[in-house]
């Protein structure tokens, strides 16, 4: 007989505490339901968020950012593994779902109820109020964002201060390691504690391995209790769900968990989409002081061209790794780390990949950008280089193979548009992930319905970015929270009426 290190039960058991899971917990707990949140990662307070990347990322980022797609040209897939999920390491950028995406979901995927416009507007307002959403004030732009604003003015580009859920941001430029000032209203700092105040419970450090089922309905979860520092297995746990299991493990792990639970085939793990991106760095004669300012504070939306440009202040470890060269040449660049700015592009790629459970039990992700995706990226990199020169940069480092490592002449930036570049020239990273358990009306073309219930299984829901049938071309967390909020309200009310 199995000796369980932990056994528990609740009406609603939620796997994952990121944008999706925490929002579901917030709504259900506020409605008076008995909720238990289960999270693989630890709960980290400000004192657990060291500034150095080795410890900071080691604790909070899954695989320290090395989880990647398979193939000859892997793309790292960055995700948080801690209470708050990826929201606990993100930059707090808030965008409502663009209307064309909402209409596409309605017309092509039959999700009119889920993304009903007036309801979405109502929920946006609630979330924006609760998460203190505001426009980034110029006082915390820092040199990085200020330079992008200057470039936009000079080139007449539609730049704007970012809207973020960090009204009290003091510009410590530390979002990736976690906001130690508590200014950013990530889920660990907002909906998770709020749900707990409303009676929900939280079990961190539980790695769910399987959803338990009996007679066509989900009855609970089981998996391993893990140790905080080493993440080694301490023993096993089992939790009984009296009403429903909600899987919110994120785009990479939700399909793995479903497949491990015998829910395979159809579109499970398919239609994986993303906004992969890359960064361009430039050196200015004057100090930029990237360590001061909102981590991301200014943006240039270019949705019609398939991309969005953003400022991105990174810790010195990442900036240094991005600077060209080795040895003495590199050390000379390192000696003036206060003179660099870094901007990035997020590309709305048309490519569709897949994430399935591998032989070893972990995720096996496949995603290959198309020729069109590569072309869009090339155009965006060229524009970023032009913008840097417009802002007064002396050297630009595109970081793209078959382009010069260091560009000193604006004409060379113009030439990037026509350069012959191919997929392996670009070093992408992806943090906006979608799909793998897509929602839709047609059972053959989706995994969950418009109420986010898994087709054919009672009491099992998916509530995270994996239900997105498409990507969006804007930062996703607000749309994830809003869609989950809407579906959970229905669940909370339906169950209350039934009771």
């Amino acid at each position: 007989m199995t000796a369980w290190l932990l056994e528990d039960s609740a009406d609603y058991v939620i796997v994952g505490t990121g944008a999706g899971g925490a929002t579901a917990a917030r709504v259900l707990a506020a409605a008076g339901h008995d909720v238990l949140m289960v999270e693989e990662g630890p709960r980290l307070g400000p004192e657990d968020r060291p500034r150095d990347l080795l410890r900071g990322m080691g604790r909070a980022v899954r695989g320290m950012g090395t989880q990647a797609t398979l193939g000859k040209t892997p793309i790292p897939l960055i995700q948080g593994r801690l209470v708050g999920g990826s929201t606990a390491i993100n930059s707090g950028i808030i965008w409502r779902m663009p209307d064309d995406v909402r209409r596409q979901w309605t017309d092509e995927h039959g999700l009119g109820w889920l993304v009903d416009e007036p309801e979405m507007e109502r929920i946006y307002d609630v979330i924006e109020e609760e998460l203190e959403v505001t426009k980034t004030p110029e006082a915390v732009f820092g040199g990085n964002s200020r330079k992008m604003a200057e470039a936009c003015e000079s080139l007449d580009l539609p730049g704007q201060a970012m809207v973020r859920n960090a009204a009290r941001c003091v510009g410590s430029s530390n979002c990736l390691q976690g906001c130690t000032t508590g200014a950013r209203m990530s889920m660990d700092n907002s909906y998770v504690p709020r749900a707990i105040r409303d009676g929900a419970r939280l079990h961190p450090l539980l790695r769910v391995k399987r959803v338990l089922r009996s007679g066509g309905r989900a009855t609970g979860i089981e998996g391993d209790v893990v140790e905080k520092g080493t993440r080694r297995r301490q023993g096993r746990f089992r939790i009984h769900a009296r009403k429903a299991v909600i899987v919110s493990a994120g785009v990479v792990h939700t399909p793995v968990l479903l497949e491990a639970s015998g829910i395979r085939g159809g579109l499970v793990g398919e239609r994986f989409q993303a906004h992969p991106g890359l960064a361009v760095v430039a050196r200015f004669d004057e100090p930029i002081n990237m360590s001061f300012g909102a981590t991301q504070g200014y943006e240039v939306p270019q949705r019609s061209r398939g991309f969005k440009l953003e400022t991105l202040a990174l810790p010195p470890e990442m900036l240094a790794a991005r600077l060209p060269g080795t040895g003495a040449r590199w050390q000379a660049r390192l000696a003036e780390l206060d003179h660099y700015a870094q901007w990035c592009v997020q590309v709305r790629m048309e490519a569709k990949g897949s994430i399935h459970r591998s032989f070893g039990g972990g995720p096996a992700a496949r995603f290959e950008p198309t020729a069109r995706d590569v072309g869009v990226t090339q155009e965006a990199v060229a524009l970023l280089c032009q913008m840097f020169f417009a802002a007064g940069a002396k050297e630009v480092y595109p970081g793209v193979g078959h382009l010069p490592e260091v560009i000193t002449d604006p004409k060379m930036a113009d030439a990037i548009y026509d350069a012959k570049l191919t997929r392996p020239d670009f070093h992408f990273v992806a943090s906006h992930l979608f799909g793998t358990a897509a929602a839709g009306k047609n059972h053959r073309l989706s995994v969950v319905g418009e109420d986010l219930a898994v087709h054919g299984i009672d009491g099992l829901y998916v509530m995270d970015a994996s239900v997105f049938p498409t990507n969006m071309g804007v930062n996703p967390q607000h749309s994830i929270m809003t869609v989950v909020y809407r579906a959970t309200e229905r669940l909370a009310n339906a169950r209350r009426v039934a009771a």
Partner: protein, 164 residues
């Protein structure tokens, strides 16, 4: 981790930031680690421990490529760690620009690992000038009264200031 891997890790990772004799005439200031200031092995072990299983294999493959690069890139059967600093740096530079994507990408992972080690040293980090220092506050820092201001110093914006 066996002794050879540890030695290779130290030799290779320190190779990114090794001072080369031929560059001594370069007048530009450089960020050079002091002897014993940086623990490269700790960063290597940390990345292997925290990374995925596949990335651990990748790191080890990258390390092997780099440690044996004198042989397979230049045909010299010399130990990587016995080469002068500028030669080690030049070999790593060639690997970073290798036409095979995976070789270049894995070497970049080693460079990131070297950076994790370098900037874990408080002294080296301070010398890099990355962090705005008390003596050299940015205009914004001066405005908020501190180089690392505490939460709540800035007023919360009013609702009307929210734009979407």
């Amino acid at each position: 981790m066996i002794g050879l891997e540890r030695r290779w890790a130290k030799d290779v990772l320190s190779g990114f930031a090794a001072a080369g004799d031929s560059d001594q005439g370069d007048p530009r200031p450089r960020l050079v680690p002091q002897p014993g200031e940086v623990n490269f092995l700790e960063a290597y072990e940390g990345m292997i421990h925290n990374g995925t299983f596949l990335s651990g294999i990748g790191m080890r493959v990258a390390l092997t490529f780099a440690a044996l690069s004198p042989l397979w890139l230049t045909g010299r059967p010399t130990r990587f760690g016995s080469l002068p600093g500028d030669e080690r740096a030049a070999l790593l530079d060639r690997l970073l620009h290798h036409p095979v994507f995976l070789v270049a990408e894995l070497t970049l992972l080693l460079k990131l690992c070297a950076c994790m080690a370098l900037f874990r040293s408080a002294g080296l980090r301070a010398r890099s000038k990355y962090d705005v220092s008390e003596g050299d506050p940015s205009p914004e820092a001066a405005e908020t009264g501190s180089t690392r201001p505490e939460a709540n110093r800035l007023p919360v914006l009013h609702e009307g200031q929210v734009t979407r």
